[in-house]
């Protein structure tokens, strides 16, 4: 029982990290039809800059250090993503292959620069004692990092749904996911919504990066890449363009992965997720939700 609970909450925590990456990816694809392979770089660069900020504050309270690293990571993710959109993606508007290549370039360059600047060894983020501890529930000692990831993802999900359902830009994004040129034909500058979606997606990915540092205990230059692969699987299963679909798929993928990696053998969970992707594509090509950005 306690093992089941532990695996479930750990899986949910992993799903939370996936969701934070997937939400932005899914909206970017839905709105702009850009496969943003640079999204993992937002995750990684944000985590490292958060780590640097925390290091610069060493000696202060670990809560302050951690809090600042989270804020810095979120801002860094947002700024990096905005720059990527404005400087690299926008000029290649209407050249999809060029856009994909540019995002690959950003991804490779970011990893290389991080390795050059910080070295390839894993870095440890200073965490408050509470975060390294556990909370017992139903006999299982759950690492508190899991709770934090789950709480953060739930909060981001709620904020994103509020944004999409209740704001004018959210309305533009939902309409743009359906039919971008008709939004323009109503006199709306969709380009601005692109930039906004990139910024929001980058912030969420940055948050995922810094939370993953706590979840896994360390930061390294390549985790962003593997997280990105699972986030892609999540958005396809969830239905491209749908934030709610991404949330559901992230939970399924994270939990499935944890259980199978534990009960079958390490690696089986990862493989099963890919299998699940294939099954969903065969049975429901539009993903679990079709493609509406709700």
């Amino acid at each position: 029982m306690s093992t089941t609970v532990l695996l479930l909450i750990t899986g949910l925590g992993l799903g939370a990290l996936y969701f934070l990456i997937a939400a932005g990816l899914s909206l970017i694809w839905g709105l702009m039809r850009v496969l943003n392979l640079a999204h993992g770089a937002f995750f990684t660069v944000a985590a490292y800059l958060g780590w640097s900020a925390s290091l610069a504050l060493s000696g202060t309270s670990p809560w302050v250090q951690w809090g600042v690293s989270v804020v810095v990571a979120v801002i860094a993710g947002g700024v990096f993503a905005t720059l990527t959109e404005v400087v690299l993606i926008r000029p290649l508007y209407a050249r999809p292959v060029g856009q994909v290549l540019v995002t690959v370039g950003v991804a490779l360059a970011a990893v290389a620069l991080i390795e050059g600047g910080y070295g390839g060894d894993p870095k440890q983020l200073t965490l408050p004692a509470w975060l390294t501890g556990t909370t017992a529930i139903l006999g299982a000692n759950i690492p508190n990092t899991r709770w934090v990831a789950i709480f953060a993802a739930a909060l981001v999900l709620a904020l994103l749904l509020f944004f999409l359902q209740r704001t004018r830009y959210g309305l533009i994004v939902r309409a743009g996911v359906e039919n971008r040129s008709m939004v323009e034909a109503l006199g709306i500058d969709v380009q601005r919504a692109f930039t906004l979606v990139f910024a929001i997606g980058g912030m969420a990915a940055g948050l995922s990066g810094v939370l993953a540092a706590a979840y896994y205990g360390t930061i390294d230059p390549v985790r962003g890449t593997s997280m990105l692969i699972f986030a892609f699987i999540v958005i396809v299963i969830g239905g491209l363009g749908s934030v709610a679909g991404s949330a559901l798929a992230a939970v399924i993928v994270g939990v499935l992965q944890q259980f199978l990696n534990f009960y079958a053998a390490a690696g089986v969970g990862d493989f099963a997720v890919v299998l699940l992707l294939a099954v969903v594509l065969l049975v429901r090509p539009g993903g679990l939700t079709g493609a509406t950005s709700t």
């Binding site: 309305l171 039919n179 008709m182 323009e184 034909a185 109503l186 006199g187 509406t292």
Partner: protein, 240 residues
């Protein structure tokens, strides 16, 4: 027509889509006020002309609105100059509610226009919370027309086959709505239903295979069966 009467002018507009030369040097004027008809057989380039005006289709040549060149502007900038669009397939946002579809089109001054559209289409008020994708074709057309009407800055509405596939009663409703819309904006209307076109339109432009083959008064065209048949095909004989 004198230069001051001209609202929209096309000069030597070409549109290529892939290898196909779809519009071949199209030139015409749309007079300020009233409804101008853009007619022609299936596949001659009527929709492409409207899309070219907006910049939704890549075009060369000159398109001016009240003397201002539009071809260098992006689509949303063209629309912001006062060009409304009611596309052939309506293009309502299916996953959005009726109210949300309308809200997207709102601009300063839309409050008064809500009175107009709810007067023309009272159904839309009752169906405000309904997803536009679940509406009938006629109701979707009402949403699409309303979006163009809500923008009080629109000086010209490009309306593409608004009665296509609609039941006779709805055709009458839409026809009446267009007549009222023409009181607040100039309309360039693509219409295959020639009795509707004849009832609404004053000036006519006829396209054939990407070229303008006739411009003039609607009665001149419609009251001469041989001329109508030559320009509009068999439908002209049936529709009249």
């Amino acid at each position: 027509m004198s230069e001051r009467d001209v609202l929209l002018a096309l000069r030597n507009v070409d549109v290529f889509i892939g290898e196909s030369h779809i519009l071949q040097g199209v030139s015409f004027d749309v007079r300020n006020g009233g409804i101008t008809g853009l007619l022609g057989r299936n596949g001659v380039g009527k929709t492409t002309t409207l899309r070219g005006i907006l910049g939704l289709a890549p075009r060369t040549g000159s398109v001016t609105l009240a003397g201002e060149e539009l071809t260098r502007l992006s689509v949303h900038e063209v629309v912001q100059r006062g060009v409304g669009y009611v596309p052939e397939d309506r293009d309502v946002f299916a996953g959005l509610t009726v109210a949300e579809n309308l809200r997207l089109a709102e601009r300063k001054g839309s409050e008064l226009r809500y009175d107009l559209i709810y007067e023309l289409f009272p159904e839309l008020k009752q169906r405000a919370a309904q997803k536009a994708g679940t509406l009938s074709g006629g109701q979707q057309q009402m949403v699409s027309l309303s979006r163009a009407l809500l923008n009080a800055d629109n000086r010209i509405l490009l309306v593409d086959e608004p009665t296509k596939g609609l039941a006779p009663l709805v055709v009458r409703n839409v026809t009446e709505a267009l007549r009222r819309a023409a009181e607040v904006a100039t309309i360039l209307l693509v219409e295959q239903n020639l009795s509707v076109a004849h009832a609404l339109v004053r000036d006519v432009i006829v396209l054939d295979q990407g070229r303008v083959t006739f411009t003039g008064d609607v009665d001149e065209l419609m009251n001469d069966p041989a001329l109508a048949r030559r320009h509009l095909g068999l439908a002209a004989a049936v529709g009249h």
